[in-house]
Amino acid sequence: MLKIEGIRKIFGKGTINEKLAIDDLNLTAEAGDFITIIGSNGAGKSTLMNCISGVYGVDAGKILLDGKDITRQAEYKRSKYIGRVFQDPLKGTAFDMTIEENLAIASGKGKSLGLQLGLTRKEREFFRERLALLDMGLENRMKQKSKLLSGGQRQALTLFMAVISGPKLLLLDEHTAALDPGAAKKVLALTDEFSKSSGLCTLMITHNMKAALGHGNRTILMNDGQIVMDLFGEERKNMTVDRLVAQFEIENDRMLL
């Protein structure tokens, strides 16, 4: 499914501020995988996601999605197979457009942009049905502008938009970090639900160790642009939050030394 082969990303190449953000990183993920990614600030987690989604080009290595080399593909082109939710709830929707218009853009991913109506009655019905599943009352507010939504509602909507067109890969960059605990819980529950869609592979960055172990089937710890721990199967089942935090600190200390 997702195969990352020896990618490297250097910021400010050739300047005194040169920073090796991703260092010869390899990762293979299968369809159905839900991988949580942890690591301290500056470990390269977001950079990894931005390299996968094409916001940044990589300096070396390859990224393959379903056997197809997307390393040099433009960000908007590979977005057709990749759903994304950002940390900032404002980044996920067009604020001056209505909820249904936002959904229409998201569900039209990959279709050609023509002069046909952006929103048909049939689509509207479909959105209403699906929105009801979020259980947030959004199905009755479809004609409201998305700027009127709360952070939690907006993040739930963004998550919904990210999966509505059936992507192969779902990238979540601390998507609950800006939410209150209740909203975060709700969005995480939705994440669990959506991640079960057939053939979807989910990567989720989080700073919450409990969430990192409590969701998904695999956890990776990043440090200094590399994957330093990869937990799955029995080993992951036996891992506790305390031990994970301890491990996290060892890696952190190692970096500081």
Partner: protein, 301 residues
Amino acid sequence: MTIDAILGSVELGLIYSILALGVFLSFRTLNTPDLTVDGSIVTGMAASAMVCSAGGNPCLALLAAFLVGCLAGSVTALLNTKLGIQPLLAGILVMLGSYSVNLRIMGGKSNIAIIKADTVYKSFQEAVPTEYSSLILGLIILIAVTAAFYYFLRTRLGFALRATGDNEDMVRASGINSNAMRLIGLALSNGMVGFAGGLLAQYQSVADAGMGVGMVVIGLASVIIGEAVFGTRSLLRRLIAVSLGAILYRIVIAFAFNLGMPSTDLKLVSAVIVTIALSTGMMGEKFSLPALIRKGGGKNA
């Protein structure tokens, strides 16, 4: 003030409404301050006047005006997206360069009179011989343009364009080429401006290379006045408000002239109106000065 003077203002206002809709598309929908307008309106005038004076079909002249306007907008968009020049500066460059292009279109003359040539206004006058014929024609054209524009903004392409102005990150994450949207948006915006210029040349029976100065500010003033007076609740209402704003603006200016304001002060008055509107946040926070400076130096390059 005479009825004739008011009638004339409204006739002119109907043409400026199309300019205002074009400015609305770049400033509001795409969220990009585009100064190309000062150049593209004259390019439209020049193309329209040249086709008419060569004995061409006046409708064809309007089409030519639209297309050259699109071209000017495309150049601005390409300078921005391909060469990474800030939108504000890209617009200024095209505005400057187009001055020479406009003079070339007009055969090196700064002024082309088309008094004897056929225009849409004269043809319509012949078909509908009333003193209101210019008013009726202007209204028909404006309604057609507004309807087409409204439909366009509700198409899949229109959605993508509006979202690009709102949130470019989201647009790219939705698999849409935001640079292509900027290109289409600015081309269409200046196409409408060029069309308005073409219509203006035929209405006044003259094209003048110096007429573009301050047109973007007039367009902006119309958008601001329209939205403030007539409301922004729905998209259609907003478009109608912008059109009415342009007409209201012309009427206010006509009154000011009538009260003895010298016509040479027109540009100063326009600038003051827009300054007041911008500083009081009537354009929304996005267009307050600090926000514009941030934007100009930021990610849009």
